[in-house]
Amino acid sequence: MRAAVVVFPGSNCDHDTYYVLKDLIGIETDLLWYRETNLNRYDLIVLPGGFSYGDYLRAGAIARFAPAVQALPEYIERSRGIVLGICNGFQILTEAGLLPGALTKNISQRFICKTVKLRVENNATPLTHLFGYGEIIELPIAHGEGRYIAPPEILEKLKRNRQILLTYFGENPNGSVENIAGIMNEDGTVFGLMPHPERNSERIFGTGDGLKIFQGLVQEVLV
């Protein structure tokens, strides 16, 4: 198996995500420059966190035009592999229309960095199958634009299809509708998370829950 972490100008979690995949889990991983369009070599493509293009205009609004992102629809259509967007990566995926809804400014209007509790809403997905249903896990968030919104009919569909993966538990830090912290597309091939699993993938940072997300994806791809 081979994974790619896409590097945009302004990405800043690219090395962190690479470290988890390559050094902690031990799978072949490339840092892929945003101009690359040949994605078919990869079983897993991660759009990492950060501030691609400075988040100017709107988070993800410029990165969606990057060649690597432009090549994603074909990759997804062919069901070649799995796409995961973390934080800024999630923002890029919604901006590109590859995941429904939008991520807007936190209700506090401020950046928030803290560890939050999350509830696993669907554990029958490649991303969450190593958790129990309803399990409470802990992951750090770090974002200024993480408030998930979507029109009622989309929310209805997300719920009906069980596309909501994780919800904020106890406290909703950013005002997301339905406490949504992570979703997937209908086919279960494209995933978006506002929390950072790569920042809690080792016990020195807390529960280590994030590692299970990457391990889950890797196991799924290997099967």
Binding site: D23, F51, F111, C113, R199, I204, F205
Partner: protein, 735 residues
């Protein structure tokens, strides 16, 4: 206007102008005047401070690079080194808090990058007027937002620092930022130009009109309509900065890179000259080659611009294209703008014609030393000590926890990304110092930053001693060995003899303390002129320190860990209440901290400081580290601002665990005094014997304070719940 008037407008004194004319053997032209103004500004030349800075110890067995470069570098283990430095951005932040603070972050990051190091952590110390004052709150909010904006986007975690509030900073807020970088020994770079014919490159952003005269602006008092100074403040672009970091770390691998330097204060008028000075060469610059934002800029404006996100490189002739390619890949500007010449001058050419030429030795380091310190000022204010507050310990503790300076800084640090780069093992609030792991290594780094200006206003020597000791305490509390210091000295106008006297005293105190711990100062910064028409800031040394934690597994947290653990106080067991936050908060009269005319040093109502015994300090710190190495301690916390009860409350907040305390002395001195040389530690019952044995054998005084228990702090039947205390602690800064 005469040339002399023009020189004075540039901030040069008549004496300095005369010196320039005498040494040049002619009058300088306007471009040359601009070059002198910046190179000879206090900010760039340290003309009032360098004679005192020489008093600081700088040698040490781990030191790879001491003062004089863009940052200091000390060795860790396995060829790993750490580069670090602190810098101020006080004046710009007072005028334009958001961009002033943001560009302060950018500048210090590029200093670390100039050493060939990857920036891995930021810390910042902020000082504002009283929180009750709307203007201070406004500055506070803007500065925090600016630091968040820049630091978060650039992907360097902000892991520590502090914030305090006092009237002394009402007109001049302080924004000091420290950056820490990691590098392998073989990657170390210097800011040097060498090799005749080698090329000078400018990389990063284009040069614009922003920040012209920024360094001279930082070298005068902040008076009058500060809004008029806004054009002196640069505007930062953290996205460009992030790309500049990645591109620069890429070219640092090229053997053709001779040296590099950040374009900070003074821009192109100072950086190339400094690089030439270090290399013993000259530089010729072709001004028309510099990429501009506005093609109508004059050579004078181009040289004096302080546009952000730019660096200067010296590269081997013939390798230029290789460098240009990397920067262009990252979407950045890069151009060859000059070359190294044998003649030791800084020569500015415009379309082939020389428009300015000054000997390097005259430009860099040619400025005459300034003013000597005055006599000891009167100290009447120190003798005005206030009396008892008359409230019980529970009320006093709750009120102190809610004072903005003591209170939780969660509102601040949750706006900073402190977990990016996935190295932050102890982040803000978790321990006395932040702890960063180094991927793939057993060892880790501890970093801290702080400083108390009020102590220095009362007693500058003792304040200087404490600034160093406090940082040492923070580092050893997590189990790390202190290995190097960086400092930022924030003072008022140095032409005031009283200010310069305090400056010298603070430095002497810092130097004596550093010598006691055999600690080197490896980098630093001086910020003078922090005063307005009516107010001077307290003398405020900010100390940044790095520690080496041999084994990450041995790190010690601040808070209580388990019920049943025993609480011990070790170190100096009695002292004065003078200088404390307690006295300040419970001041009966409307607070007027600044001494009146003729009262001199001191803070009205706050009395005198208990002097630090450096022998005890050294002994105490060694003992604490020994206890941690033997894995005897469950937690450790130094007793500092707010005193003993505040330290105990802070230990309770970590896990909501309370304590049953057996204190016989409930005097305000004992509960709230801020005398030095104390740690509160906890130990499990099984290790209690080993700990007391160690303390006995080392001859360190100690006292058993009680046991970790329940969900309240309890002293002699009186109790207050941790929840109630936490509410007071967490809500003080809600805006």
């Amino acid at each position: 206007m005469t040339k002399l008037e023009l020189a004075q407008q540039h901030g040069l004194s008549p004496r300095e102008y005369e010196t320039i004319c005498a040494l040049l053997q002619r009058e300088p032209n306007e471009v040359e005047l601009g070059l002198f103004a910046l190179n000879w500004s206090e900010h760039c030349s340290y003309k009032s401070s360098k004679r005192f800075l020489k008093l600081l110890p700088t040698a040490g067995k781990r030191v790879l690079q001491g003062p004089g470069e863009n940052a200091g570098v000390v060795e860790l283990e396995n060829d790993w080194c750490v580069a670090f430095k602190v810098e101020s951005h006080n004046h710009p932040s007072a005028v334009e808090p958001f961009h002033g603070a943001a560009t302060g972050v950018g500048g210090i990051i590029r200093d670390i990058l100039s050493m060939g190091a990857r920036p891995i952590a930021l810390l910042d110390c902020l000082r504002f007027g009283e929180f009750s004052d709307a203007k201070a709150r406004n500055l506070f909010e803007g500065v925090v937002a600016g630091i968040a904006h820049y630091g978060n986007c650039v992907g360097v975690p902000t892991v520590g620092g502090d914030v305090s509030f006092d009237d002394a900073y009402a007109d001049n807020c302080l924004v000091n930022v420290m950056c820490v970088g990691l590098l392998k020994r073989s990657q170390l770079k210097r800011a040097v130009a060498q090799g005749v014919g080698n090329k000078i490159l400018v990389v990063g952003a284009r040069t614009g009109r922003d920040g012209i005269h920024g360094a001279t602006f930082a070298s005068e008092d902040l008076v009058g309509e500060t809004e008029a100074k806004r054009p002196n403040v640069q505007v930062g672009d953290p996205f460009t900065a992030k790309s500049l970091i990645e591109a620069t770390l890429e070219v640092c691998q090229f053997p053709e890179l001779i040296g590099l330097q950040d374009l900070g204060a003074g821009g192109l008028s100072t950086a190339p000259a400094e690089m030439a000075a270090r290399g013993g060469v000259g530089i010729a610059l072709d001004i028309e080659e510099i990429p501009l934002r506005d093609p109508t800029m004059t050579p004078y404006e181009i040289l004096l611009s302080e546009s952000q996100e730019r660096m200067v490189l010296c590269v081997r002739a013939g390798s230029e294209q290789k460098f240009l390619r990397v920067y262009r890949k990252w979407g950045l500007e890069a151009a060859v703008i000059g070359e190294v010449i044998a003649e030791r001058v800084y020569r500015i050419r415009h379309e082939g014609r020389t428009i300015a030429e000054i000997p390097i030795s005259l430009l860099v380091g040619g400025v005459p030393d300034q003013a000597a310190p005055g006599p000891v000022p009167p100290q009447a204010a120190r003798r005005i000590v206030q009396t008892k507050s008359g409230v019980g310990w529970r009320e006093a503790l709750t009120k102190l926890l809610h004072s903005p300076t003591i209170s939780s800084k969660r509102w601040v640090y949750e706006q900073y990304d402190h977990t990016v780069q996935t190295n932050t093992v102890f982040g803000p609030g978790a321990a006395d110092a932040a702890v960063l792991r180094v991927k793939g290594e057993r060892f880790a780094l501890a970093v801290t930053m702080g400083g108390n200006g009020r102590y220095c206003q009362i007693d500058p020597y003792e304040g200087g001693v404490r600034a160093v000791c406090e940082a040492v305490h923070n580092i050893v509390s997590v189990g790390a060995e202190p290995i190097g210091i960086t400092d930022c000295l924030n003072f008022a106008n140095p032409t005031d003899p009283e200010v310069l006297w305090s400056f010298e005293q603070v430095i002497r105190g810092m130097a004596d303390a550093a010598r006691a711990f055999e600690l080197p100062f490896v980098s630093g910064n001086v910020s003078f002129y922090n005063q307005s028409e009516t107010r001077k800031i307290y003398p405020t040394p900010i100390v940044g320190m790095v520690g080496f934690l041999k084994d990450l597994a041995n790190r010690v947290p601040m808070g209580f860990q388990r019920e049943g653990d025993l609480i011990y106080l070790m170190g100096k067991l009695s002292g004065k209440v003078g200088g404390s936050e307690y006295l300040k908060v419970f001041s009966p009269s409307p607070h007027s901290p600044l001494p009146s005319e003729g009262e001199g040093l001191g803070v009205r109502g706050l009395g005198e400081l208990e002097p630090t015994d450096l022998d005890l300090e050294r002994h105490l710190v060694r003992t604490l580290l020994a206890a941690i190495e033997r894995r005897l301690l469950a937690s450790a916390h130094d007793v500092s601002e707010g005193g003993l009860l505040i330290a105990l409350a802070e230990k309770s907040f970590a896990r909501g665990l309370g304590a049953q305390l057996e204190l016989s002395d409930l005097s305000e001195e004992n509960l709230f005094g801020e005398w030095p040389s104390r740690f509160v530690v906890t130990v499990s019952p099984e290790h209690e014997g080993a700990l007391t044995e160690l303390l006995e054998s080392m001859g360190v005084p100690y006292q058993k304070l009680g046991v970790v228990k329940g969900d309240a702090l309890e002293i002699g039947g009186e109790r207050v719940s941790i929840e109630e205390l936490r509410r007071a602690y967490e809500t003080a800064l809600d805006l």
